[in-house]
């Protein structure tokens, strides 16, 4: 049985640990139970502030709190944490380098039931284009724990993306999990193609690499947990080494991981790049997250198919 843990639990528990520092303050826009910021709330009620269903003000208040030397973590679903308050994050947070941690939860398609209004396929792209912003997308709950601490220690604005579902462990253990903001992890060495993934699809990429072996293909797997600043060196090295790249993300293929990798490789090491992710479209309701991911072509089979195709072309 594959070990799994909900990303939110890992996040919420770590946030509560970080709360030992009295400079940490937490705000939530009426979703603390879902976001698991309520673990912090129960432990440190005097430093938890319910912002109500008013996300714009929550961002501004957090900016102000940071200007007094506090470290605010703000929470809402990623659709609201980004699109709804884009200008507030742009000006009140990024432009003035406010030390605010924007935590976007129920990210990607992970809020399957609620449908398109609650599914974010554009948040990483929008956050990535903001100057001074750091964008972190952990792949499993162990990496989430490490990432949350790193985000807390980092001075400056951060967008942290949190899925709402249990996801399989990519890492063996917390000690095993390497995490440094801006440094991609090579999870598996390979010479024929590089699968560059972020978020929950990293587990799919690992499985796809296993399947590819049966096809005689050695795939390298990169876990790019920091979309910005992108580990350009690691991406270019993987491309140089393998000569072909597939990107996989639970996000629109426009402008996020796939876009960032294509930009870097286009300028530094042009190789075939195939992007797997949500096409230029909104999500929809589904009773099951996996089913929704499949409907959007984010599956082991799709990765294996792309890998085979590109390697075949490369070998011609």
């Amino acid at each position: 049985m594959q070990r799994m843990e909900d990303m939110r639990d890992a996040y919420g528990e770590t946030l509560a640990e970080i709360g030992a520092n009295p400079r940490v303050v937490v705000l939530d826009a009426d979703l603390s139970h879902s976001n698991k910021s309520d673990i912090f709330k129960n432990k440190y009620p005097e430093r938890f502030f319910e912002a109500g269903i008013a996300e714009a003000n929550m961002v501004g208040v957090a900016a102000g709190l940071s200007l007094t030397g506090l470290i605010p973590f703000i929470h809402t679903f990623s659709v609201f944490a980004v699109g709804r308050v884009y200008d507030q994050v742009r000006i009140s947070v990024c432009y003035q380098k406010a030390n605010v941690k924007v935590v976007g939860t129920s990210a990607g398609l992970s809020d399957a039931h609620d449908g398109a209004t609650h599914q974010s396929m554009d948040d990483v792209t929008l956050m990535r284009v903001l100057p001074n912003m750091t964008v972190v997308v952990p792949c499993d709950s162990l990496e989430m724990r490490k990432a949350t601490k790193a985000v807390y220690e980092h001075q400056g604005p951060v967008y942290l993306r949190v899925d709402r579902m249990p996801v399989p462990f990519v890492w063996e253990s917390l000690e095993d999990c390497q995490f440094k903001i801006g440094r991609a992890n090579v999870l598996r060495e390979g010479s024929d193609i590089a699968i560059i993934a972020s978020g929950c699809p990293v587990a799919l990429a690992m499985k796809a690499a296993d399947c590819a072996v049966k096809e005689g293909i050695k795939a390298e797997v990169l876990d790019v947990h920091t979309i910005k600043p992108l580990d350009q060196k690691a991406v270019v090295n993987a491309a140089k080494k393998t000569g072909a790249v597939v990107t996989v993300e639970e996000h629109s293929v426009i402008g996020a991981l796939g876009g960032a990798v294509a930009e870097v490789l286009g300028e530094n090491c042009p190789v075939p790049v195939w992007r797997i992710g949500i096409k230029d479209m909104f999500g929809e309701s589904a009773l099951d997250w996996d089913e929704l991911l499949s409907a959007h072509g984010i599956t082991v089979e799709a990765i294996v198919g792309a890998v085979k195709n590109i390697v075949k072309k490369k070998r011609k």
């Binding site: 303050v25 208040v61 009140s92």
Partner: protein, 275 residues
């Protein structure tokens, strides 16, 4: 009630703020003239009397904070900060030039004395709420002032902040509304702001925003209010102090012709003060 000499001195300082604003507009430089002139008396009362700030140590932890939510009116604030010595007056000649410390809108990273980068309307009051809440968390006694435009008060975010500050009883926050009744393109579509703030749970006073004595009294009163935020709604005249600029939205953001510039100086000089 404040002694007449105090009021008189601040009236002169406010006049000098107006002259400083006009000086920045020299040579046909464009600027947000109308809104900067309408807040000159409020800015003078805050910086030259009410607030505890230290120009030699702009980031002094216990200083009072001023957030200019209507960031486009920053010319008035620049003149006050220069007068206090936060930066050399020479900088006023370089406003908005490439590489200048003084940007078109407030920039806390570039300009000593600026507390928050504002200019995208509606955001400053929330930042001020955050600073006030931060003071409470840290057990600090400083006071936070936020100056909001009445045109800006059409923004929904202002009212989100209104709800938040009232809910958390931020009595270390004093909001000031520059109610000049004009936005860039004409009359504001929002009016009667004082009753609105009252309805949102803020202790509210409506005063003449060009009467230094009334401003000082209101600011003193604000410090006595407990468990609630305060909003001082100041009735003002956009462009106050220069007759042809007053109540004329053509001068919301404008350049002055040499003739207009001279006429404006004549009018301000006739009111007294230095320069």
């Amino acid at each position: 009630m404040h002694p007449q000499p105090v009021v008189k001195e601040l009236e002169e300082k406010a006049l000098n703020v107006r002259k400083g604003i006009l000086g920045i507009m020299a040579g046909g430089k464009r600027g947000h003239l109308g809104g900067s002139l309408s807040i000159a008396d409020i800015v003078a009362a805050l910086y030259f009397h009410q607030m505890k700030v230290d120009p030699k140590n702009p980031r002094w932890e216990d200083r009072d904070r001023f957030v200019l939510s209507k960031g486009h009116s920053v010319l008035a604030q620049y003149v006050a900060l220069a007068e206090l010595g936060f930066f050399p007056k020479e900088e006023l000649k370089k406003v908005k030039k490439l590489g200048a410390m003084l940007q078109g809108h407030p920039d806390r990273l570039k300009t000593p004395g600026i507390e928050a980068s504002t200019g995208s309307l509606g955001q400053g009051l929330s930042i001020a709420c955050g600073i006030a809440l931060g003071a409470r968390v840290k057990g600090k006694k400083f006071h936070v002032y936020a100056l909001v435009g009445d045109g800006e008060s059409t923004e929904g975010m202002i009212w989100e902040a209104a709800i938040f500050a009232a809910h958390y009883g931020l009595d270390n926050l004093t909001g000031i509304t520059d109610q000049n009744r004009l936005m860039a393109s004409g009359s504001t579509i929002v009016s009667s702001l004082a009753p609105k703030w009252r309805a949102f749970g803020w202790e509210t006073k409506e005063i003449d925003g060009h009467n230094i004595g009334e401003i000082l009294d209101a600011l003193d009163w604000a410090l006595t209010v407990k468990d609630r935020p305060v909003m001082v709604v100041c009735n003002t005249v956009k462009g106050r102090g220069i007759s042809f600029v007053e109540n004329n939205v053509d001068f919301h953001h404008c350049a002055l012709t040499p003739e207009q510039y001279e006429k404006a100086w004549d009018e301000l000089n006739r009111k007294g003060g230095v320069n």
